[in-house]
């Protein structure tokens, strides 16, 4: 029974992980080129990707390495850029059943990327860790292999193909947030306000430097906080309130 259930979730995760894997491959390829440019070997670049699974975090790490800066600088950079994963992890704690084995918690944590978080935080009902494993099984190789090949070959993808593929991960985010927004007016308002506020912040950031990592956290806490205060979810259940 349980085994069958896990298998079902794993296969669903695999299926949903395919577009993530493709998008990852394209983005990681660019990341690999960056790694090559600062003098990392393809192996080191792939190791970075396997160890971190974080695009902005890895770009930042490469910059720190290139600058030959101190380890403390590395810690601070990663802390700021990746702090959004803290919020994502908090959100996921309410999706996995209370009794979930700690081993699963450690493993699920390893693959909290923007995209895997996106699909797993919005599944209906409880989250089965095997869904995340399924997604990770396709997404992670795409990410690691993309980095490796990028660092190995440099810029070989035709420019227009690379340009089009850059939209893939954003397309995924859109596919995650728009359908629930259609069903729920609060979520629709949240999405709209978030995009507007983010644009405003991006514009302000051209005068006052605010890192994109910090921007994401500030806006998330602010907007999700206000939304929770104005429209708390219905007690004892789902957020569909209409």
């Amino acid at each position: 029974m349980k085994h069958k259930e896990n298998k079902k979730w794993f296969l669903l995760g695999l299926k949903h992980g395919i577009p993530i894997g493709i998008g990852y491959f394209a983005v990681a390829f660019t990341l690999g080129i960056t790694a090559k440019n600062i003098g990392l070997t393809p192996g080191q670049a792939a190791a970075a990707s396997f160890l971190m699974h974080a695009s902005a975090g890895e770009f930042a790490a490469f910059k720190v390495i290139a600058a030959n800066a101190g380890y403390v600088e590395m810690v601070l950079q990663e802390l700021i850029i990746n702090l959004r994963y803290l919020l994502m992890s908090c959100a996921l704690t309410q999706k996995v059943p209370e009794k979930t084995n700690p081993v699963h918690r450690f493993l699920v944590s390893y693959f909290i990327t923007d995209e895997i978080f996106g699909i797993s935080s919005t599944v209906e009902g409880d989250l089965n860790p095997f869904y995340n494993y399924g997604a990770a099984c396709v997404a992670s190789p795409g990410w690691v292999l993309g980095t490796f090949l990028g660092a190995l070959t440099g810029n070989i993808l035709p420019a227009n193909v690379a340009s089009a593929l850059n939209l893939a991960l954003y397309g995924m985010f859109i596919a995650i947030i728009i359908p629930p927004a259609r069903k729920n007016r609060v979520i629709a308002a949240i999405v709209l306000v978030s995009m507007l506020a983010s644009s405003l912040f991006a514009w302000v950031a051209t005068f006052i430097p605010v890192s994109s990592g910090l921007r994401i956290i500030l806006l998330t806490v602010l907007i999700a906080g206000i939304a929770a205060w104005l429209h708390p979810i219905e007690e004892g259940g789902e957020k569909d309130e209409e």
Partner: protein, 102 residues
């Protein structure tokens, strides 16, 4: 030289993993506060929306192709909702627009 790159990567990976794992392993209970539960429920939508826009506009070769790809992706997501179709549709539009534009 090689050594220090390894340490750099391990430091970066360690910090990143701790950030991801601490809440997941420390918060084992369902949170009772309605406010916090609502907050966490809304987090994904805000975070993903903020990461998408306006960043998406500057990711392709031209802001026009990105805007077109974005609009089509939103439209497909609204009408159909299938992840694969949204991604494929968005990327194809970028490709086509750049074919005529650049």
């Amino acid at each position: 030289m090689k050594n220090s790159i390894l340490i750099y990567l391990l430091v970066a990976a360690g910090v990143t993993y701790l950030i991801r794992a601490l809440p997941m392993t420390l918060i084992r209970k369902n949170i009772k506060s309605r406010f916090i539960r609502s907050f966490l429920c809304y987090v994904p939508y805000v975070t993903l929306a903020v990461m998408t826009f306006p960043a998406v506009l500057f990711e392709t070769a031209s802001i026009v192709s990105a805007a077109a790809g974005f609009c089509v992706a939103v439209l497909i997501a609204y009408l159909d909702g299938n992840l694969f179709k949204v991604v494929l549709g968005g990327c194809s539009v970028v490709f086509l627009v750049e074919l005529f534009l650049v």
